[in-house]
Symmetry: C2
Subunit: 159 residues, 2 copies
Amino acid sequence: MPDHPPFFVESIGVIHSPFATKEACPIQPAQAAGAAGTVEIFPAFEPGLADIETFSHIHLIYRFDRAGPVRLTTVTFLDDATHGVFATRHPCRPNGLGMSVVRLLRREANVLFVEGLDVLDGTPLVDVKPYFPQFDIVSSATSGWTDGRPVRPKPPGRE
Amino acid sequence: MPDHPPFFVESIGVIHSPFATKEACPIQPAQAAGAAGTVEIFPAFEPGLADIETFSHIHLIYRFDRAGPVRLTTVTFLDDATHGVFATRHPCRPNGLGMSVVRLLRREANVLFVEGLDVLDGTPLVDVKPYFPQFDIVSSATSGWTDGRPVRPKPPGRE
């Protein structure tokens, strides 16, 4: 198996969102266009933010810190079939890392004001990367098994 | 500082690319349209790949395992100015996580055949996520400070 030993990942900040519970949390950022919040970067990392305010959108990489146990196959909100977890964005995944694209409204020192959050309040942040249209827009991409499946309301009890 | 303790991240696989050295490695996937390779998922995680082959593109999340020491501000290939590392995709970043969108050609059991790699051969993989056009294409996104800066050849000695 791995030649590469496990390594530590530390929080560089915290995401503050309006969503205190999983039930309240939207499923993907595109559904959360109005969900504004802030991304607080710990002061030690603030120099790393220089010029980030020149971008309209950023990727947040964070830890799903309240996800259930890891599972390799799972159902989602889109249909009732089971899919491999790597063919979904489900939180109960190995390493528990999440990624969302949000709109960056402005920066005030170590705080980013953003829109389009789909994460729980208090989620630990591990990285911020600019969204580069030249690399991140893939116009030819297809939707795979999700094609034509509108996002449904969350079925009760389904994570 | 963090309420959240550091956590371990483990490799779920290895990326095999044509690039043995940093000098040979392209800077972003869009430059590497022809760079084919494979993503080997360790057999224990293979069930998590079910249905991934229905997508045309995937995100790879990996560890920059040969990056230099972390720095919070850095120069890049795009210009000679210094930028906050979170306003770049530079490898020398806190937590050392990288992200690339690649084209998925096919899957054979636990091996993904991909195109558009921009990572070093042997890079440890920590997650695979589908590229969802409905969430990941942000047509209105702007290029921030990179706008109008064509990617230049790598200056000698610059990482």
